[in-house]
Every structure is written in C-alpha cells, then in structure tokens.
Symmetry: C2
Subunit: 471 residues, 2 copies
C-alpha cells in the first residue's frame, strides 16, 4: 500500500528484521521439506545466537525447542514474528503479535494479492499500520546478513561478507544473487526479500541501509514501485553518501501480467521511460540485465566514483581492448585516446611494450607482456595527473603469468589507492583467470570475466561521479 | 588481401593446418618463456602424434628433438610450416617452404601491416598466392582441435570436445574462449586464430568447417571483413546445413583505430549498419557482446532450430520469469501467453502447481515445486503439438532439489528429443546450480546462469529457424 514518505517508526524498527534478539516462528514444522522447518534449520545452521520460539499448536517440540501454541504464550519478549502459515490464519497471528508488542512481522505466506486477494492483503496492512507494527512481505523468501550470521527464511546459503545491501522484491532472484555471492565472491552487507511489499517499502530499507555500517552500495530489484515519491525522497537523501543501483522488471507486455501474478505489482501507465525518469530524479543508477545489476553493484560497493572519462585500459590482449572500445561507445562513454588524455604518458608508456604493441588506448602491451611490463605501464598511468581510473585486463597467453600479473595489479592498487582513482579488471580464460577474478575481488578490485561487464562497471562508476556532483 | 571467392586449393589444404602429419617449427627456441619453445611444448603436452621438426640454425637439439638449420634441410615431407621468427626473416622461410613443397604455412610473427608494414605483408601474401601455398596469419596465436589432441601455437589449453568451430581474428579472445570452454563446458570441434588474415580468409575456414564432421555451429569473431563477397558466398553455401554466428568489433570510433593497430583491419566506410546488412545477406546470426557470442554459439551447436515463437518457460522462480519476459521483448521476440499457445495446456498444467502458481507463461510452478511437479509440467508442455520449444529454469530455494530437477530435465529431454523441440535452461545460484549447468551442457542442453543469456540463446535458435526457411 502506497506511502507518501519513508516512515520513521518503520525505519527505526527495521533493525529487528536483521538483528532481532528473539524470533517467533509461526508455522514451525516438524517435517523436513516444509518451509516452516527450513526457517529454524537455517537460523541454527548459520549461527543465530538469539532466542527462537517455534509456534505450532499441534507440537510439543520442534527442532528440539519447546513449541508454543500461540505467539501470546511465549513467556519472553519477541522482536520478530516470522509467519509461515496459510493466508486465512495470518490475521489472527497479527493480532497476537500486536498483543505481544512484537517489533516487526515478516509474512512469508503466499496467496494474497498476487492471486486476487488484494482486499485481504490491504486489511492486514491497514491493521499493522494502525498498530504501528511494520510488516515485511507477504510472499517473500526471507532476509539475513553474513556479518550477523543471520539467515532467516527458506534460503540455502548466506552470501560472503561485503558492501552491497541487496533489497529484492523477487525471492528467486535474491537466491540467485546469494548463490552468485558464494560462487563469485560478490560481497553483501545484508539482504532482504520484500515480496508483495504490502507495508514496508523499498524507500524504508534504502533509508535503513544508508546508516548500516557495512553497506557501501544499495541495490534494489523491483517489479513495481507503488510509492514513487517515497522512493525519490529516500534516494535523494542517501545518494550523496551511498550509490543506489536499481533494476526494474515487468515493463514488457507479458511481463506486466507476470509481475502481478508474482508479487502483485501493478505497472499500468508506467512504461520503461517512466522508470528512467523516476530513477533519474531519484539519482539512482539503472541496470538493464540481471548480470549488469550485480556487476555494477559490486563495483560501486568496492570503488570510488570516477570523476571524468579519462580511463586508461592496460591489456596484453588486443581483442578484449576492441570489445571494450565498442562497448564504451555503445554505453555513451567513448574511450579517449591516450595522447588526448596525456601526451607525455602516451610517449612514456611505449617503454613497456614491444614494437608491435600499441600506445593508443586501450594500451596494448602485447601478448608477450611480463609482470614487469605491466607494473611499469600501470604505475605510469595511475600516477599521471590526467588519468582518473585504471581498467586492467589480463589475457592468458601461454607466456603470461596470470597469477603474477594479478599480484602486480593488487600491489599497484594498494600503493596508489590514496589517489582515489578506481581500478576495474577483466580476465577471461580458464581456472587461473577465475582464480585471478576471485583474488582481485577479495582484494577490493571489481573483476569480471568479459570486457563488456568491466565496461558496464566503469560506466556505472562514472554515472555515480556525476550523481555526486548533482546531489 | 582481398579475394573474390573462397579458393578451392586453400580449402583443400586447410586440413593440413588442423591435422598435419608433420610440422616444421621455425624459430623453435631452447628457452622456456619464448614463443618458439611453447609451440613444441604444446604439441607434445596435448598429444600430437605426427612428426615435429624444430628449425633453428643455432641449435643441435630443441626439446630433445634434432633441430634443422633450415626447412629445406628436413629429410622428410613437411605438411605445415609454423613460423615464429622476426618479420624480416619470414620471406626467406616462405621460399624454403615453397621449395620443400609444404602444404600450408602459419605465421605467428607480429609486426607486419598492424604497425605500418602493409607493403611487406602484401608481398609475402602475393608470393604465397603465386605459389599456391596457403598462408594463415601473420600475427596469430595458433590453432588446434580437442578431437585430434592438437594444440599448435602459444595456447595454454585445449577446449573440451564439442560442436562449435571457433574462427577468431583475435588471439586474446580465442584464448578467452578456450579458457571458458574448460570452465563452462563450452565444447568446440576446432579453433583457429587468423590474426591479420593476409591470405587465408574467414570464408575459406567457413567452407572447411561446413564439411568438418564434428562441427555443428560455425562461429566467427572478426575485426574487419575485407572480402565481403567471399564471406557472403561461403555463408550462403553452408547456412542451410550449419548456422554461422558472428561478432564484429572495431565499429566504434576509437575501436576502428585499435582494430588496425591490432590485426591491421580496415573499417573505413563500414559502420555497424553495413555489417548488419552484410550478415543478413549472408544468413549469419550476429551477436553484440562476447558473452552473447559464446552463449548463442553453444545453443546452436547443441540444439535444433526453433520453428516458431511458441516457447513455454517452466520455472519455480517468478523473478527469472520476469527477467525473461522483458528480455524476450527487448530482443524483438515477445513471449506468448500459454492460453494463446494452447488453451488446453494452460488448463492441464495447473495440476502441477499450488494455488499461488501461475499458468500464464512463464509457467511459475512456484518455489515449492518438486521434481514430480517439474516432470508433469515439462511433459505436458513438450507433448503439446502447439509448443515448439522448452525454456527450463531452476531457482535454488531451500526446498528445491536442484540436482533431482536437473535430472528430470535431462530425462525429459532425452525422452522427447525425437520431436525436434529445442530445450534451453537457466539456473542461477551457488555450487549446485553451477554443477547443474555443467551437467546439462554435458547432456546436450545449453544452460546458463542468467535468464537473459538463456533468452539470447532461444532468440538465436529462432533466428536460425528463419534462416533455414530462407536459404
């Protein structure tokens, strides 16, 4: 349900969604394979240290814990009530939660507005609002944080620790991101699924993330923004401090219907151009594809913004250079020639390549490049006052020491980090390139396996540079 | 140098580039780290069974093999002469190769037209043409085939066996593809770097690939096509039998210059629209990004073409469904509603989902879907006479048995393969999803880690369906 602005009582209580001292799990099941079972299993498995109160009127014990017949029967305070019971029972649980003075409720249950029960969903929402009890969901997968060892929902993994706050309306895509986090060292500060987002809104989690100590980039996947004023207000509040990355789906004809069937999102009269305008007003950066969404979030979580277009690409592979040239132009940020950026650099950098290298930009130090060549070229480029960012690339020829070149990039990055010039990398190939990407990411350098992904990241860093000038 | 049409003597001799009985390696070095050393190392390491003749005027032995002072001194026949000596020595080696009646020469050496020595390159090319000695290169990385255990060049890996013939002007990007092949089970039939492609042309390798028994998809990375008539003629000849996938770089302003500096490719007066038209005339399918290039090549190498737009997506994740809807529309092939494709299917498929599932299209059988639900939904869809292709998706919720659902897809694919309806899959998440992708690929189903990649693959299968109708 629409809100005009992010609400203080909601933002204040969101900490109980991610760091509750106690949780009541309503619909806690004794049977493996059931959602209500998985919630407690996940809490235990990932190291939740607070109190868990299973609520199940037909069980004495669940997961070895004493079960309670209702939320009201729990003898202690309850911060978070996690609800996984059929839709028709939810109203009663909310009443018990209000009586219990719970701080926040999370409704995982599906089958509300997305199947036509909009009235029921609105009634529940209004009841929570009347009682100042923030409601997350319904129809969601869960939430958590690797910093708090907190995995609350039906989620098979925690992400690795990092700087991206992932706020996703879709549970499936949230799980995709969490799995990717593990596979590709995509670090997150916290994550939350919003599902139908009947009450708690994107804008409120954006405001919360702005003050979260681990978050450096706020990433929002949405299927429909029904409170655009609140969204713009929240973004305007935070983007000077932290970037907001967005992806909006459901803009296609059939996607419009599918978005309603999925998270009850309404997209009437809001085409892609509408969202472009909305995001521009908000100061948020929009991604087109899911991969781009993750890739640019990673970069914005790790690197400072890019202050102008003077990026120098240093590569031992002309092909990745060419893919990059074309993609930069496609993205509206054509590469500049090295001699235009810095004539002296274009002359000096010649020393680090054979005669068939190219000091244009991309700087192609050739397939025979040694770690020493790389070191010389990178340090010349990063120290040139006209250069604002380094785009590194490694191609695995049989004479390339990928691991050693990776270490050179990390060394140069750490040595010159104080200059505030972003580093972004590309390294495509076999296992050694995959290892390089992971090592670079662990050392704070966003690295990707294709040139176009790296270019998307650089373009996003530049966009954020412009947003910071404006807000 | 331009050719008007693919030349028979060249096509006939290309088999010696990929399956030579004997190779002279000119510039064979005794020192590890040198390109001339790596060539022989690679031939031995990957199991080349033919004869290797190192040519080095200053060594008695190289890699334990007797070295010869010149090609002419080799006592037996020589099929392939691989040249890795400085540019100014190449003319002499070519003369020796002609005298020796070699079948083909490969020039790895750089520093020809790409650094302004166009005249020298043209002279060498004309000399080879006058003597009907096909010349591959110069300025290339090498070639090989996993079916022949053949790795000839400075290439750190062989790809896994498969159906894509990879013809790449760029060495760096060829290496990227070979590494990706290993990491993501992207199977190839053979691969070749063309570099400056002074003599042997794309068109000739396309004609060769058309008759290669392992090749089912011909993929061409180019930085400039200087013999467009020959390209169109070759494609027109083969596309009824095998699809041709292309990616063209160097279309951007700075890329134009970089392409010349890299492979001496000239792109004056040939903008992106020019190439769009050329590829359409040829019946080739054009990819925009490198990832798309590999993704659609994989699909076209594994699956039959799609005969119309009636694709049914079956997923347990609404989010991946939505990303797919939008991307299909972006790519000009909007999804069709299930009830439009087959009203009866849209009713029958309800049996395999909970009440909050969606029988629209994407068919969202919901996050609680079991392998049995999947099996029912897939078999109903694939058996419906109005359905032309299956787009499968697995989202790893904590109650999803990803491995079991993967096996269901493989079982259904094998059971109904005879219907000629393509299967494409998407599965994003952690290790279990990665394992699923690899297993699916090994079983002939193109599978990807994002929805948009899978959609690109399906759109390409449809494009090939249309091309087959036309040619």
């Amino acid at each position: 349900m629409k809100i005009k602005a992010p609400r203080k009582y909601v933002i204040d209580n969101l900490k109980y969604a991610l760091n509750p001292a106690s949780i009541a799990v309503v619909g806690a099941s004794r049977y493996d394979g059931k959602v209500g079972y998985k919630v407690i299993e996940g809490l235990n498995k990932y190291g939740y240290k607070g109190k868990i109160y299973p609520v199940n009127p037909r069980a004495e014990k669940v997961h070895g814990l004493k079960a309670y017949k209702t939320v009201k029967d729990i003898p202690d305070e309850v911060d978070l009530v996690f609800i996984a019971v059929p839709a028709h029972l939810v109203k009663m649980i909310l009443e018990h939660s209000v009586a219990k003075k719970a701080k926040i409720v999370v409704i995982a249950t599906s089958a509300f507005k997305e199947i036509g029960r909009g009235k029921l969903q609105n009634e529940l929402t209004q009841y929570c609002r009347d009682n100042k009890l923030p409601l997350i969901g319904p129809n969601l997968v869960g939430m958590g944080s690797p910093f708090l060892n907190f995995n609350c929902g039906f989620i098979p993994y925690l992400p690795v620790k990092g700087h991206v706050a992932m706020i996703s309306q879709s549970g499936a895509n949230l799980l995709a991101a969490l799995g990717t986090s593990q596979m590709l060292n995509f670090g997150m500060s916290f994550f939350v699924g919003l599902g139908n987002k009947a009450d708690v809104d994107f804008s409120e989690f954006i405001m919360y993330a702005a003050n979260d100590e681990h978050t450096k980039c706020i990433s929002v996947y949405s299927e429909g923004i029904d409170s655009p004023e609140a969204f713009v207000q929240a973004c305007n509040n935070v983007v000077a401090k932290k970037p907001v990355v967005t992806i909006k789906v459901g803009g296609s004809k059939i996607g419009n219907k599918a978005a309603f069937a999925h998270t009850a999102s309404e997209n009437t009269n809001t085409d892609d151009a509408y969202y472009d305008k909305l995001y521009e007003k908000a100061g948020a950066i929009r991604a087109e594809t899911w991969e781009e969404f993750l890739d640019i979030s990673l970069a914005l979580g790790l690197q400072p913004p890019l202050k102008d277009d003077n990026v120098v690409m240093i590569t031992n592979g002309g092909g990745s250079g060419l893919l990059s040239c074309d993609h930069f132009e496609r993205k509206g940020m054509p590469m500049r020639e090295l001699s235009e950026i810095s004539l002296i650099l274009s002359l000096k950098i010649r020393a680090y390549m054979p005669m068939f290298g190219s000091p244009l930009n991309p700087v192609d130090i050739s397939g025979t490049a040694t770690p020493k060549n790389y070191k010389g070229a990178i340090s010349q480029a990063v120290c040139d006052p006209n250069v604002s960012g380094i785009y590194g690339s490694i191609c695995p020829t049989s004479v390339t020491d990928v691991a050693a070149v990776t270490d050179v990039y990390i060394e140069m990055y750490n040595k010159y980090k104080h200059l505030g010039k972003p580093f972004v990398m590309e390294c495509q190939g076999g296992q050694e390139c995959f290892d390089s990407i992971i090592k670079l990411r662990k050392n704070g350098i966003p690295a990707y396996s294709t040139a176009e992904q790296a270019v998307n990241a650089i373009v996003a860093l530049r966009k954020y540079g412009k947003i910071k000038e404006k807000f």
